[in-house]
Amino acid sequence: MARSRLDTSGLHVLGVRHHGPGSARAVRAALEEIKPEAVLIEGPPEADALTSLVGELEPPVALLAYAAEKEGPRRDAGEGWAFWPFASFSPEWEALRYAVGHGVPVRFCDLPAAHTLAERMAAAEERRQREEDPDAAGEAPEAEEPERVRLDPLGVLAEAAGYDDAERWWDDVVEQRGPGEPSPFPAIADAMAAVRAESAPESGREARREAYMRQTLRAVLREGHQRVAVVCGAWHAPALRDVADHPVKDDTALLRGLPKVRVNTTWVPWTHGRLAAASGYGAGVAAPGWYHHLFTAPDLPVHRWLTDAARLLREEGQPVSSSHVIEGVRLAESLAVLRGRPLAGLDEVSEALTSVLCEGEPARAALVHRRMALGERMGAVPPSTPMVPLQRDLVAAQKRLRLKPEPFDRDLDLDLRKENDRERGVLLHRLRMLDVPWGVPGPSAGGSKGTFRESWRLRWEPEMDVALIEASRWGTTVASAAAARAADLAAEADLPALTSLTERCLLADLGEALPRVLALLTDRAATDSDVTHLMAALPPLARSARYGDVRGTDGTRLRQVGEQLLRRVCVGLAPAVHGLDDEAAAEFVRHVDATHNAATLLGGEVLADWTAALASLARRDAVPGRIAGRVNRMLADGGLLEPAELRGRLGLAMSPGAEPAGAAAWLEGFLQGSGLILVHDEALLGLIDTWLLALPEERFTAVLPLLRRTFGNFTGPERTEIGAAAQRLGSAPAAAPGAPVRADADTERAAPALATALAILTSGRSLG
């Protein structure tokens, strides 16, 4: 027995083209003819246990194998896992369905993912080391570009037969067989053997793969199965068919001592878009929609395709009649004849679509064609599929919130006052925290935080399952994992990052993580000596404290932290402004403005502290003119500065002894945003007027650009009014003819309206 030659009389090797509908049909027919007792399929053997689920899966799906250990070398995207996609028109899928449907034992025979992933991770590790240590990159990375013949052997054969499309050639040689003709697979294997004889023997990974496939095959044959069918890439067919010619010990030697990792496998939903993508895990199927159509359409594929296209065009509001479709089919068929093809293919239908159905409009045709050729669809897996707890939690949440993962963009508007919508928003925010960008917030969600609306754009990508599996080390539910992730992020974040993290925690309703993030925030605030950092951190916090009302989160703690921050700002304010140049001062003014808004939002005692700090700042000398001007204006606007006092300060700043450039900067800060104050307070205008008139000519030209910058920012009407006011200054104040007459307001009657307006503007808190 030990040396007896393997009996391969019952072995049928079906060499296929991956994701070829022609191959899939042929495989089905061949299997029904062979009636195998065991089926072997190219794929990771770790997934053998998962084949029982095939009946419940809805393609396209993919086998996912991922390295199980959590610790270990740092992993980048794309190296700790691998996918084996299956579409409804994949021959492997047909074989799986046949085997499961007929209760035939089925096994995957490719090299285990344990080795594949271990190799890949080691290679990535090596690459990283090379990058970190450029000196070691002496020897060039060995070119692993497989030659084209290996990538697409059927394409090479088709080319030899004078076809430019392998699938079409395959259709001709495989599909167009009369009944009773022998199966095409022996011929395929022969052809491949001929192609392989021309090229160098397999080496490296490919050799190991084939060795492993043979080992599995031997094991299955020795189990005593009479008829065994193997479905594998056509390229491997000869190597498996002639299994008896390969010595066992060579194969064992090849497979000895391979690196290994612990691997888990599962099924994940896949999409046609992924199948079409030529890079990454895409299978490079140019038109999965077309293939799916070819495989599922019972007959007349061209007729049905163009009818579907017509329906799509009608949905888009285009008048497309049945006669268009008739003529489209005729054109496609006569084009096929002209090109010497037995059947109209995708090119022909696409041209018929443009010329007939779309009446020559390429843009419209391209839209419909792209949509149909891709035929976007997403597979589904049953709940019994092995999943990490995090995935299960998400599936449950999706079900509860009626949010379905879909492979195309969908816009979602949420009304946060509704319980269900609020939870949806929270879920999406939590997923973002876990780096699962299922939803991307729309513009309105980013800008106006106080709103009760949130808009999202949803699109599920198959990689997100991987991201979820990756994220499962953070926790078993979406909420706990997101909280853990937030705490982890916080540990290394600097102050501005921490505040935005706070905001994200609030949006994601991560009450558990918030205390830790806030504690870190206060720590950082205590040690961070840069006041501008503190000031930058404050506005999101203040917004969040107020935002809490809409979302029902508790704002008290936030408020405390915000107030603490603001107090630190108040203390550090005066030293920070010292010696800033004009540009830095302009930047600082922006921070002061933002902080002022934040302080107003926070209100209460700290607001008083803040205004006190501002008031003391305004009195100081050696504050850059721009900041001093702006602060004085803020105080004046807040009613904290008597007009007389303000005039005094303006007069000081504009006095002849002061440097004109500094005075102009003061003025710029003072008038930033709006110059209307000059219209209402003629005394101020008079002071500026006097200052300007008193300037000697060369000084006047020196400050002119600054003044122009200041006044240039005002709106046209504002400038006109200031101009008119300045004119009035010159003439006798009482007798100015044509001057706008201000109507006397009845203050008593206006009082309620004013109070209401004030309440609206300050959201109930008066400026106090």
């Binding site: 268009h324 003529e327 005729r330 054109l331 090119d347 010329s355 009446e359």
Partner: protein, 371 residues
Amino acid sequence: MTTSAPAIRTDAAQALRPHAEQTHAAELEALAKADDRQRPPGWKLSPWAVTQYLLGTTLDDGTEITPKYIGARRVVEIAVATLATDRALLLIGVPGTAKTWLSEHLAAAVSGDSTLLVQGTAGTSEEAVRYGWNYARLLAEGPSEAALVPSPVMTAMARGSIGRIEELTRMPSDVQDGLITVLSEKALPVAELGIEVQAQRGFNIIATANDRDRGVNDLSSALRRRFNTVVLPVPDSAEDEVRIVTQRVEQLGRALDLPEVPASLTEIQRVVTVFRELRSGVTEDNGTKVKSPSGTLSTAEAISVITNGIALAAHFGDGRLRPADVAAGIQGAVVQDRVSDGVVWREYLETVARGREGWGDFYRACREVGA
């Protein structure tokens, strides 16, 4: 009447511009001999041979078939397949994208006759697409077949050959719609005589229209639906366009008996480059944006700029095509609107042409013309 009118019948050999089937008679004959594929009824060649005629090839017996249409094979294949399905063909494109050229050669190859032509204008009357009467005869003899003057379309139907309609959208809408019966029933009733002309096998219509002009009469959807539409693109690559221009200039030169002037490839390339850059609004190296003028700047215009330049060089120059010879022509083509295009052209000269290596002569010549 003492002076006799000049003879209307002319000699094809002396024609200023021979028809496609006359120019390429030898090629058509060789193709017909080599063509062993099935021909649709009424066709002189099989669809395969028609494509070969248009795209150019070398036959087994060594006959060289020159390419007539340089561009996407797909366009020609769709056009031929359309004619083979007895659907009418509508060629659309901006002016100068070889619509008329393609339609003439298609007609020549399919039915050996490209002369059954109706030119669409605002004044085209219904007689031009249906039939008219010889009124003297009509009055003398009453309605009879002898008094009937068939239109090119009617003749094409009776003969089973291809009828051509140029600038279909320029015809008034009611005249256009006269074609609907022709295209759907494939018959043209003559009510006055109580007969009808039924189209013979091989009859079809090729119409051209341009989608650039405004103020044309758009096709009614009833008519539109009877056409398969092929949009002719502007040439993809600069090489293609240079090839088209070179080939056509050579042929035109021969036909017009211009003195032999070596058509300098640099000048052709230069003209094509200028046209392409102005058309696309960006320089070939994708480095500088330029404004586009109001004209179309088609390949056909490039061809006429070059032929014009060759005539100048032959008669007034030193027998070589120099930048100065194309300068006037190119400016005439670009500057359609004196004010706005003038600015565009001057800007192009100053920002692009001036600094380009080897373009000094051209730049100076253009400046001279413009001054």
